[in-house]
């Protein structure tokens, strides 16, 4: 089992990285892009496959205590079963 955690700058908080990437995309001719926000993506792999309420609660507390900076960042996560431990990153299909 793995948790996929997305950590993004809070709404309204300046995102200089997103800004720089957006202008660079424009300079390269990708004018269809209107706005870019950049955050972090974490994959936590767990030792056993158990899920449930408690796991959700613990991942939430990891995010709050360590992974995200609540002052300027929001987080969200999902727990997924991952058949092949040690595989590369997975997620929204390409």
């Amino acid at each position: 089992m793995i948790a996929r955690v997305v950590i993004m700058p809070k709404r309204g908080v300046l995102d200089p990285q997103g800004k720089a990437i957006c202008s660079s995309l424009h300079a390269m001719g990708y004018d269809e892009v209107d706005d870019v926000r950049m955050g972090k993506f974490l994959e936590l792999r767990f030792v056993d496959g158990a899920a449930g309420e408690e796991r959700v609660a613990r991942v939430k507390s990891m995010c709050e205590r360590l992974l995200a900076n609540g002052v300027i960042e929001d987080f969200r996560f999902e727990l997924v079963d991952d058949g092949s431990p040690g595989d590369g990153p997975r997620g929204p299909a390409r």
Binding site: Q17, A20, I21, M38
Partner: protein, 255 residues
């Protein structure tokens, strides 16, 4: 010879580098602007240190798309010399003019301090005035200077003597084993202690340490003569190489 120092938005060491080339070395040096593709006929282009475009996304990732980099790539393809220092090295890797990539330092912290470097190879435009095995003392200052490349690329560069400088202990020694703790002398965790590499065409060189900060005797003299101007060796080697080639060319044309 004529030098050109590129200024990207966010370049910081461009002024320092130009000062060393112009006022300490006494060479003609022009400023090159990132929005222009005109290299003004320089013999060697220097991509300086700094945080081009804020180094947002990845160091050097955005700079490589600026108009000047198209010109630099053509200059390099035609055999012209290119030196990338720190952020310049990162830009060259991102642009594919040098192999590999530079990632976050092993200790996840910015590191600014003197390091000792061993000169590994001297038959090239960049270190030809050194002796192989010379140990230089030059500062590093970066957060993402850990050099990575796949083993085949590293092997090939070793075979072709394209790793020009490596981090080493003050006595020139290095750990035998890649997996040993090398934090006493390798500041960022770079693979095989690589501090600077040259391309296969042997005319493009990138390194993380800052030769321009170990070059001005008026500054180095202060702390009780703490450092020699080791960085100057690189600039002098380049100038020497350019002069020699020019002499050969004019001798050839006279004949």
């Amino acid at each position: 010879m004529k030098w050109g120092v590129v200024t990207f938005p966010g370049s910081n060491d461009d002024r320092d580098t130009a000062h060393v080339l112009r006022s300490v070395l006494g060479h003609e040096t022009v400023a090159l602007w990132h929005k222009s593709a005109d290299l003004q006929g320089v013999d060697c282009v220097v991509l300086p240190g700094g945080f081009s475009y804020g180094d947002y996304l990845r160091c050097g990732a955005i700079a490589r798309f600026s108009p000047i980099m198209g010109a630099v790539a053509r200059h390099a393809a035609g055999g012209g010399l290119v030196l990338g220092i720190c952020n310049g090295f990162q830009v060259l890797c991102e642009a594919g003019l040098l192999p590999g990539a530079l990632v976050r330092n092993r200790d996840l912290r910015f590191v600014c301090r003197d390091v000792t470097l061993r000169v590994e190879s001297i038959s090239n435009p960049f270190t030809n005035l050194a002796f192989a095995g010379d140990v230089w003392r030059i500062p590093v200052k970066h957060g993402e200077g850990c050099y990575v490349a796949d083993p085949a690329t590293l092997d090939e560069m070793e075979r072709e003597a394209r790793i020009l400088v490596r981090y080493c202990r003050p006595d020139g020694s290095r750990a035998r084993d890649e997996s040993a703790d090398r934090s006493d002398y390798n500041p960022n965790g770079s693979a095989r202690d690589v501090a600077g590499v040259m391309n296969a065409g042997r005319n493009v060189f990138g390194l993380m340490p800052h030769p321009e900060h170990a070059a001005d005797p008026a500054i180095l003299g202060a702390e009780g003569g703490r450092r020699r101007a080791d960085g100057m060796r690189i600039f002098q080697s380049i100038a020497h190489w350019v002069d020699q080639r020019r002499e050969q060319a004019s001798a050839g044309s006279m004949r």
